[in-house]
């Protein structure tokens, strides 16, 4: 891992305007899917984005890959502002930033052979001219598939194997950053570990940076260096994985960790303190004023409705300033408080 910043996202916003019928009137409304988030990813580093549905994880990944255009803020890749690049200008970025999708069934064209699926990105970018087939077979071997299966169709593969094809397609153009949007959540439990191991192996061998989007806290803990916890379009807590899991400061992060069922209960490790939230995530169309989490928060006071808490270090102003360089712990709550007993300490055999 080097210290070079690959991706820098500043105050990123994506608002979806739409019209809604209210009685006899058409009213303009806005879904604030992503509403001012900032983070950086360095070369070879892995950032985890976690949160519940509707928190803006997937929209964030679509903005960073520029499959969608931000309505505010900037995205810089290797120092170049790519926020509003035109389609033809994006080609080079597309080579460097690739995506792995959640559903290995709908993300592969069922009418194309694996060979065709993997040759297309090579043709688009003019890579390995005349030697495409050799490169495709090399890619298949790299992700643990039989290179002789080049002429098969996606339907002839299992879910785990299809996800490997999706991974091979992302790797075909030798990207520097991979956005993986829930890459294992559609797979069988016994297959998830195989695909996680493959991603970890590729990350080490090819020195890839990842943005890893997932709702499974265990998988994120296993795979990521930094974690950003999102709630209703905002980052509420950001920091090194160890900080987020072992000493979370934001009440939402604490509730999320506490809500995840824990297999260690069966190993006789005492159930951690339980925090139970009331109700569902509010609609991003008209999010609560001030702190967006206040409607479900047990600490909420008047100030929470009036002022939006900034994403800062709970302990010192110094570390807020060094945030851009990474390696710190930030949270956005008016009343932060460390809790350390939410995730059971796992004893390791062997």
């Amino acid at each position: 891992m080097s210290d070079k910043t690959l991706l820098k996202v500043t105050d990123l916003q994506r608002h979806f305007p739409f019209r809604e019928v209210q009685g006899l009137k058409m009213v303009k409304a806005t879904v604030k899917a992503v509403d001012g988030i900032s983070f950086t990813v360095k070369e070879g580093q892995t950032l985890g984005l976690v949160g519940e549905s509707g928190c803006g994880k997937s929209t964030t990944s679509r903005l960073v890959t520029r499959l969608d255009e931000p309505t505010g803020g900037t995205v810089e890749f290797e120092g170049r502002d790519i926020t509003h690049l035109k389609e033809h200008e994006l080609r080079e970025i597309r080579r460097n930033v690739q995506m792995i999708f959640q559903d290995p069934y709908s993300s592969l064209n069922p009418r194309q052979t694996v060979g065709a699926i993997l040759t297309t990105p090579l043709r688009v970018h003019g890579l390995h001219k005349g030697k495409e087939k050799a490169r495709v077979q090399e890619l298949l071997a790299l992700v643990g598939l039989n290179p002789e299966h080049i002429n098969r169709y996606p339907s002839e593969f299992s879910g785990g194997q299809r996800q490997r094809i999706g991974i091979a397609r992302a790797l075909a153009v030798e990207p520097k950053l991979i956005i993986a949007d829930e890459p294992v959540s559609a797979l069988d439990v016994s297959i998830q570990a195989q695909v996680m191991n493959l991603l970890a192996k590729l990350r080490n061998e090819l020195d890839l940076a990842f943005i890893f989007v997932a709702h499974d806290l265990g998988v994120v803990r296993h795979f990521c260096d930094q974690v950003a916890v999102m709630y209703l379009g905002k980052i509420v807590e950001y920091g090194d994985k160890k900080k987020i899991y072992e000493a979370p400061e934001h009440p939402y992060t604490q509730a999320l960790l506490s809500a995840a069922p824990d297999i260690n209960v069966a190993r006789g490790i005492a159930p951690k303190e339980r925090i139970r939230l009331v109700g569902d995530v509010p609609s991003p169309i008209d999010p609560p004023s001030g702190c967006r989490f206040r409607t479900r928060c047990w600490k909420a006071q008047d100030i929470c409705a009036q002022q939006e808490p900034p994403l800062v270090s709970a302990t010192s102003e110094e570390s807020t300033r060094t945030f851009r360089e990474g390696g710190v712990h930030l949270q956005a709550c008016h009343f932060p408080e460390v809790k350390t007993d939410l995730v059971a300490e796992v004893e390791h055999s062997a």
Partner: protein, 230 residues
């Protein structure tokens, strides 16, 4: 939503629509739907995911069943809502005294909610016993492999201990024990039993209240030895 619950109630009880509707509102209240009187007149699409699952539970419980079968009841829900629903199922189970069959792929959910567990593979049970004991000390290679493959079982960033291969097609099951093509321990069984003989249920040697379908002579020792080596 109230209409659907009332309909289920009237199918089994000779009562008027008004009485059934009153019962439906009670049930919605019981499963924690705020303002049940008004919500009984809402349609499902006006409910959030967690509220819909609550309404489903109300529907399932309206006739005081002795057995409630919950098929992946929280898989489509977010974790904070999942926790609410599991708590609700636990509370209602105590209140109604119903038995619950919880069908899930999530071992952690089982660990926190179930009394007993039946682990299934390719259409057959492979291990059964007390949920906590099975998850703490599995005695079938498949259960063991599943637990080993969880990220929470590994040190950070080290390789996960995946089960090799993929689940077989149910149209064309492997001969003998269905798990044998993926089993790491089949070489420790004498002869070719794993390939040819479907194992019958038998008590796990050395453990009380536990049954498995596996040919290993001493599965507990074999798996413990393996965990020590890893």
């Amino acid at each position: 939503m109230g209409g659907q619950i009332a309909e289920a109630y009237r199918a089994h009880n000779k009562v008027s629509k008004q009485v059934a509707m009153k019962r439906a509102v009670e049930m919605l209240d019981l499963v924690g739907i705020p303002n049940p009187q008004r919500r009984a007149n809402s349609y499902p699409h006006e409910f959030s995911g967690g509220m819909r699952q609550r309404a489903m539970i109300a529907l399932g419980l309206v006739n005081n069943p002795k057995l409630l079968i919950a098929d992946e009841p929280t898989t489509a829900l977010d974790v904070t809502v999942q926790a609410q629903i599991l708590d609700l199922v636990n509370d209602l189970q105590k209140e109604f005294g119903s038995a619950v069959i919880l069908i899930t792929h999530d071992l952690a959910v089982v660990a926190e909610t179930a009394d007993d567990i039946l682990v299934m593979y390719a259409g057959r049970g492979v291990e059964k016993g007390s949920a906590k004991e099975v998850l703490a000390q599995p005695s079938h290679p498949y259960t063991y492999g599943l637990l080993q493959s969880l990220p929470s079982h590994s040190e950070d960033l080290e390789e996960l201990k995946a089960i090799k291969g993929t689940p077989p097609s149910l149209l064309n099951l492997p001969s003998g024990c269905s798990f044998h093509p993926r089993c790491e321990f089949k070489t420790q069984v004498e002869g070719d039993a794993c390939w040819t003989v479907l194992p019958e249920w038998r008590p796990t040697p050395g453990l009380s209240n536990r049954e498995i379908r596996c040919h290993l002579t001493d599965p507990v020792a074999t798996l413990q030895h393996d965990e020590g080596v890893r």
